[in-house]
């Protein structure tokens, strides 16, 4: 059995998280990509939880992962719903057109 150093897998998770963050920050065009980046970040976090769960031999991490999956699903459902309503109102989903969030 190949024993992997935990650091390798953790770095993968962190890389995934950072890709998600950068996607969130650098993306200026499409709101779908934002949602996808958020999903990616959540996935990275899930991965992290699983890694530590295995590493520490503790089941709580799995429980959290299941909850987070649920929440992520609910979140993307609501996000897509908002997106749909927004599209219905504005007829586009470009991020740089969203300007009226300042009071």
């Amino acid at each position: 059995m190949v024993i992997l150093n935990i650091n390798y897998i953790l770095s993968i998770a962190i890389t995934l998280f950072l890709i998600g963050v950068l996607g969130l920050v650098l993306n200026r065009k499409n709101i779908l990509i934002t949602l996808m980046s958020i999903e990616l970040m959540l996935l990275a976090i899930n991965l992290n939880f699983i890694i530590f769960s295995i590493y520490l031999d503790d089941l709580t991490g799995y429980v959290f992962v299941l909850f987070i999956l649920t929440i992520a699903a609910a979140e993307s459902a609501i996000g897509l719903a908002i997106l749909t309503i927004y599209y219905r109102l504005k007829n586009n989903i470009r991020i740089d057109k969203i300007k009226n969030i300042k009071s």
Binding site: V25, D96, I98, N100
Partner: protein, 671 residues
């Protein structure tokens, strides 16, 4: 009776000032004149009782300031010095009041004028009768205030306004010195009433007083500051420039200010505080030198003035110089004697000048008069009496005091004494010269005015003539009759009012100086008078040539422009202060530093920064996410930094820098 003497003028002033509209000009002048005459009669009684019968009167009227060490009561002290001053002040003032009723008869504000005159007299009486320094200061400031009101009487004239402000400000410089002197007296003596201060002065010889970090002899510095006050009020060299300008007021005002009241306050102060001055020999020398310089300076300037009143003003200045140096030579009684005599003939001269001005349709330039001898003979004779008294013509009033002053100056056997004798004698020559010049140009020369004016010249009627007549009598006689009483040999007239220490006493020495030096001043006066008369009678062409020559022009300008004192003061002192007050205190400090760090700068910088920070909310989603990222990174970074080096570095400094970076950073150009 003694209090009534003081308060009569106040009553008159209130009546005329508050009810002038009801009383009308006639009623107001009637009340004020009668109040003043009553005051004079009462002060004559006071003179009889206090000075002649030698019983001093002290009235503690009411408590005023009573706090721990500082006790100042409204107290009135009547000793010889006070009653002499009271008599002079009330006499000249009542004459001036009487005179004003005709001189100012056509002025619409006569009640106001009479009210001011009476108030002036009241404050002067407060000044001379005070028994402590603080009450004296009330009178001191009061006469300054009233001089402002009176010089400024015709308040629509810009020159009168400026002259009044000048008089007030220059007096205030002296007053500041006086206040310092009184404060030092209080700090060291813990008392401000004359009796205490004078009694314990001998204990304080050789005591040092720390003023502005330097140690001075206590009594010397007190006397120095008192003398600064006297310089301002008595128009001695340095602060004299207000006096000639004060001629902008009506002529009776000039008579009152210059003859009896205001300017004599300085000499009175020195005489009153003689127990202090006697223990400050260095200040006495200073007083002598300044007084002698003033006497000489004003006499030279008076020589070439063309304004009738200005000539007399400079002669006042000059005569005050004589009084002051007489005081500086420790002959206070002589100084006060000259003060008394001078009050009479100077009032006569001023009121006579007013009569002349009245006669020639308010023309004050002597070059436009002339030939008035036959037209206004009464005024002419009065002016001649006044001038002769002024130049010290033998057996007139001025002779008795002025000659004694010069004798004591020569008899002092110190260099200041001789200095003042020489300057005083030259001053006597010049005084005679310009007095004769005044009389000649006004009365004796060929008429130079407009024909209509000269033809309409007439002698003024009852009140003016009567007041001139009343003044001419003491101008001739008072010196002779009061000489023995006031400055006679071994007279006990002064009692304790004036103190002369035995080492400064030189009356005996001055009595036995060489005959030549006694005669010299009189001879010089007569010579000056005769030479002036002859020069103007026969040497007109010569005078013109002298004036038109290169050197003559310069000398004429120099003397006519008052040694350029005003020019120097204006350009180097007042302009300097005006510039400082505008550029430095106003522009740099008030509107600069205080505004930038104070209300305006602070509020503007805060709104600007707040606006800049709120500009960070662009409204773009990705900017917000970026800020979230940055914020998280910074917080994590700080935490890491804190964990690593929190023991060595105080993170509060960093947070301070962080806050400051909002204010010191370059302005964010957003739009």
């Amino acid at each position: 009776m003694y209090l009534l003497l003081i308060f009569f003028p106040l009553i008159g002033s209130f009546c005329a000032g508050l009810f002038g509209r009801k009383l009308g000009p006639f009623g107001a002048s009637y009340i004020t004149v009668s109040c003043l005459i009553f005051a004079f009669i009462l002060s004559s009684f006071a003179f009889y009782e206090v000075a002649l019968l030698n019983c001093c009167v002290y009235i503690k009227f009411a408590p005023w300031i009573n706090s721990e060490m500082l006790n100042a009561d409204w107290g009135f002290l009547f000793d010889s010095l006070t009653v002499v001053m009271c008599c002079v002040v009330t006499f000249v003032s009542s004459i001036v009041h009487l005179y004003s009723t005709e001189y100012m008869a056509y002025d619409p504000h006569l009640p106001r004028f009479m009210s001011y005159l009476s108030l002036f007299t009241f404050f002067m009486l407060i000044l001379v009768t005070a028994d402590n320094f603080i009450q004296m200061f009330v009178g001191w400031e009061g006469v300054g205030l009233c001089s402002y009101l009176l010089i400024n009487f015709w308040f629509t004239r810009i020159q009168a306004n400026k002259a009044a402000i000048k008089a007030m400000v220059l007096n205030r410089i002296g007053d500041f010195g006086l206040v310092l002197g009184i404060l030092i007296v209080f700090v060291e003596y813990k008392a401000v009433d004359y009796a205490t201060v004078f009694a314990i002065t001998p204990i304080f010889t050789n005591k040092l007083f720390n003023f502005l970090g330097l140690d001075f002899d206590l009594i010397s510095i007190v006397c120095f500051f008192l003398f600064v006050g006297a310089v301002g009020k008595s128009a001695q060299l340095g602060l004299h420039t207000w006096l000639p300008d004060a001629m902008e007021g009506p002529t009776p005002v000039s008579a009152l200010i210059h003859a009896a009241t205001m300017v004599t306050a300085g000499v009175f102060l020195i005489a009153r505080t003689s127990p202090l001055f006697e223990y400050a020999p260095s200040i006495l020398s200073l007083v002598t030198v300044i007084g002698a310089c003033t006497a000489f300076f004003a006499a030279t300037v008076g020589l070439l003035q063309n304004d009738l009143k200005r000539v007399i003003a400079y002669s006042t200045c000059s005569q005050l110089g004589y009084m002051v140096f007489a005081c500086g030579l420790s002959n206070y009684s002589v100084g006060v004697f000259h003060l008394v005599n001078h009050a009479f003939f100077k009032a006569l001269l001023f009121l006579g000048a007013g009569s002349i001005i009245h006669a020639v349709a308010d023309e004050q330039d002597m070059r436009k008069m002339g030939g008035l001898k036959n037209l206004i003979p009464f005024t002419y004779s009065m002016m001649v009496i006044g001038s002769l008294a002024l130049i010290g013509f033998p057996f007139l009033t001025g002779f008795y005091s002025k000659d004694v002053i010069l004798e004591v100056a020569y008899g002092k056997y110190t260099s200041e004494g001789h200095f003042s004798y020489i300057l005083g004698s030259v001053g006597a020559f010049l005084t005679a010269f310009y007095s004769t010049r005044l009389v000649y140009l006004t009365f004796l020369s060929t008429p130079n005015g407009y024909k209509t004016v000269i033809c309409a010249a007439y002698d003024s009627s009852y009140q003016i003539s009567l007041s001139l007549l009343l003044l001419s009598i003491p101008s001739v006689l008072i010196g002779f009759y009061s000489k023995d009483m006031i400055i006679g040999f071994g007279t006990d007239f002064w009692g304790n009012a004036v103190f002369v220490s035995s080492e400064n006493m030189n009356r005996v020495d001055s009595e036995f100086i060489t005959h030549m030096y006694k005669i010299l001043p009189v001879a010089l006066s007569l010579l000056g008078s005769i030479s002036s008369f002859l020069l103007y009678l026969f040497g007109n062409k010569l005078l013109v040539q002298l004036k038109m020559s290169v050197l003559g022009k310069k000398v004429y300008n120099f003397l006519n422009k008052k040694w350029f004192f005003d020019k120097v003061y204006n350009e180097y002192v007042s302009q300097f202060f005006f510039t400082i007050s505008y550029t430095i205190t106003y522009k740099i400090i008030d509107r600069g530093i205080i505004e930038v760090f104070g209300p305006m700068g602070l509020s503007s910088i805060i709104t600007k920064k707040a606006w800049n920070i709120s500009k960070l909310q662009t409204g773009y989603l990705y900017h917000y996410t970026f800020f979230i990222l940055i914020g998280l990174t910074v917080l994590l970074g700080i935490r890491q930094f804190w964990l690593l080096s929190g023991n060595f570095v105080d993170f509060k400094i960093f947070s301070l820098f962080f806050l400051l970076s909002f204010f010191l950073g370059k302005r964010v150009q957003t739009h």
